[in-house]
Symmetry: C2
Subunit: 426 residues, 2 copies
């Protein structure tokens, strides 16, 4: 991998990468499940064999990153321990064990004229994955794309460049060992910022889809600039609505879990809505559960008057993704106001209702226009593993093709295969 | 409907239209099938009641169009006869009779923790439809969008402006009669060219999808400029490959139908590939069938030497969508060369193989990377009606979400509805 030295070089290098990825994708689309699984197992072995080399490159990345005085959470995500390298290898083995969606016939019917039409899953093609300095994404995203028959072009954060390069080298050895083209998983060979813009342009039609994985500013840039389809979520402003017919113990448990299990994930709740009809009994215990767990609460007037620990929410709070031990809380007049609030301030990601009233739950599940709506369960179930998808490349809030967790199936599209006996159209 | 008078007015008018369409879409997403069908029947009645008015507006459009000395095929498409107005009304009645995809549960499973996950069809939202001066598209596209729970913003060609306005007025009366918001089907109230650019920008997030219906230059502009997803096909360079194991009579029948049944549709064949192994027996009869039917043939050297009527094909012929009684024809060495030719020159639309060899057919159906692949059937089956979709808003060759005919189902997306009993995530 030679680093290009200027913008024209970068452009040429990326276009060549796009063309070779397109060729690899054509081969991979027809590769057998056995060959893809064999490659994944070889990739895992190569990661294990190269563990010392990968750790060394990671140390070099970390030394440079520490020099720049980056945040400790950032350093933590960049750091690969032996356990994390082994987990990466195990992740590849696990993907080998997942069912292969390619070739699945999802629908099949026969027309009155005898034509047999089958709707068959096929790979999307070439997927560009743009992410921050998390080396594990390199293996994970590359492997998910490959297992679903797609070629991957990876562009990780600059601070993990050497680590990612070492990981990609191992992945490519695994591909070659299974007789698959190593160009099926490639990494942009430069950290020039121009490279992202080129990927987002689609590299002259060689990229079919972009998946950004990272913070809001990265995703916002990708959504703004991309000239090809994007699977992404800008933010997860997730709500838990405690309806008047909510069981208090269940509401406490779900609210606490939805907000505090992990505060940094996109499925974490950011706003709790409490029905005024049960506020007298439910509001104080809900506030207490959150406060006692160390959560800061910004609330409406009615919430503030229930507990002195609640601070006044500003208008901006209703549209804020805290990703921290902070929550906004509002008393609403009923189901309609709750749904109107979610429509106005939500991000169409994941929203939950807690209630024993089946009719209210039915309306909420149907009428709230989010990728995932839940009844009597925590918003933190917004996750590919929890859906049974085995692994996910991210969560999508766009309206087309993939919504919610993006697993192997969501990385495929379909074609129609039609079999006849000489039919012509009258 | 007041016509805006300048660019700033146009922008304001379109943004207001987008916002009202978004509101209408929210209502329509929850409308019952009965209400939508009632609206369609009222819309058909309103078209019939307004037939004289619509005809008068059409005459005014035609008078202006004839003044500009447009092509006769263009004038024909713009012209509404009483029979065509009745056909438009019947089309609305037919859409009322189609099954409603909204609310269909397409998948349903239970997780080990008891969570019940359902994948449910929901409308896409607001669909912008940009088309040429074919007034019937106004009723057809507006009705298909509405039946699938979407709001439509229509932008037809300027030469049919008065006709379309009269049709939209009738459609809106039908919506109102069923208690649905008339803003569910709206028409851009100006022919300013800026309006198309504004639609393609997505009108500040109020448009979810653009469907262009028209010639290559319109579709190319939409694909180039759109900042929102587009369902479209730029062109249909469809192939029929006559394999060495093709039955001659079937090959003749399919080739003739694929090319000549209607030459102006996107599923018409543009290139015939003939296997060299059967060229001695099949080539002359295939050329004769086409030539005798009035088709001009541009062929490779081997095709030319088979029949004096074949003219020499240039390189550009292999990538040309003639949409006319013209075909390009090439003798290929076998299945691999045929598939390589299609990969290089095709448009991923619709391609067919004629053969009695099941293995060859299987490879062709799987390996040719087009939205529709056929075995022993005419490419002219690339049509929503022929798929059993009842009606289509167009054909898509993009890789995501909708491929092939775009009917009611393809105008929906999905959400996950999850029902629990208090599950929290460990």
């Amino acid at each position: 991998m030679n680093k290009p030295e200027n913008a024209a070089d970068t452009r040429q290098a990326l276009l060549a990468m796009g063309r070779s990825a397109r060729q690899a994708a054509a081969a991979l689309a027809l590769a057998s499940t056995a060959a893809k699984n064999e490659a994944l197992v070889h990739m895992a072995e190569a990661i294990r064999a190269d563990a010392a080399l990968i750790a060394r490159e990671n140390e070099a990345d970390l030394a440079a990153a520490t020099d720049k005085a980056l945040k400790s959470s950032f350093i933590d995500r960049l750091t690969l321990t032996p356990a994390r390298i082994e987990a990466m290898a195990q992740g590849l083995d696990a993907i080998a064990g997942l069912p292969d969606p390619v070739g699945d016939v999802t629908d099949r019917w026969t027309r009155p004229n005898g034509l047999k039409i089958a709707r068959v899953r096929v790979p999307i093609g070439v997927i560009g994955i743009i992410y921050e300095s998390r080396p594990n994404v390199t293996a994970d995203a590359g492997a998910l794309a490959m297992k679903s028959g797609n070629a991957a072009i990876l562009r990780g954060g600059s601070d993990g460049f050497r680590t990612s390069a070492a990981i990609v080298a191992a992945l490519q050895r695994g591909l070659a060992a299974a007789g698959l083209p190593k160009e099926a998983i490639q990494m942009v060979p430069t950290m020039e910022r121009d490279a992202v813009g080129l990927l987002l342009s689609g590299l002259e039609g060689t990229i079919d889809l972009i998946v950004p994985r990272g913070g809001k500013s990265l995703v916002a840039r990708v959504q703004q600039e991309a000239r090809v389809p994007v699977f992404s979520h800008l933010e997860g402003i997730c709500h838990v609505y405690v309806h008047r017919a909510a069981n208090l113990a269940m509401a406490q448990s779900i609210v606490l879990n939805a907000k505090m299990r992990r505060t940094g994930v996109c499925g974490a709740a950011e706003t709790i809505l409490v029905d005024q009809a049960c506020a007298a009994t439910h509001l104080k215990p809900l506030i207490a559960a959150l406060s006692d767990a160390g959560c800061e609460i910004w609330g409406c007037d009615r919430t503030q008057s229930a507990d002195a620990r609640v601070k006044p929410a500003a208008e901006a709070d209703w549209g804020t993704e805290y990703l921290d031990a902070i929550v906004s809380m509002k008393v609403v007049d009923g189901l309609d106001e709750a749904m109107a609030h979610i429509a106005r301030y939500g991000s169409q990601h994941t929203d939950a209702i807690v209630t024993d009233d089946t009719a209210a739950a039915g309306r909420f599940l149907t009428e709230v226009d989010s990728a995932i709506t839940l009844h009597n369960a925590s918003t933190q179930f917004a996750d590919g593993g929890e859906f049974g998808f085995g692994a996910e490349i991210g969560i999508a809030t766009g309206r087309l093709h993939a919504r919610g967790p993006v697993g192997l199936e969501q990385l495929t599209t379909f074609k129609y295969q039609i079999s006849g006996t000489g039919q012509i159209r009258p």
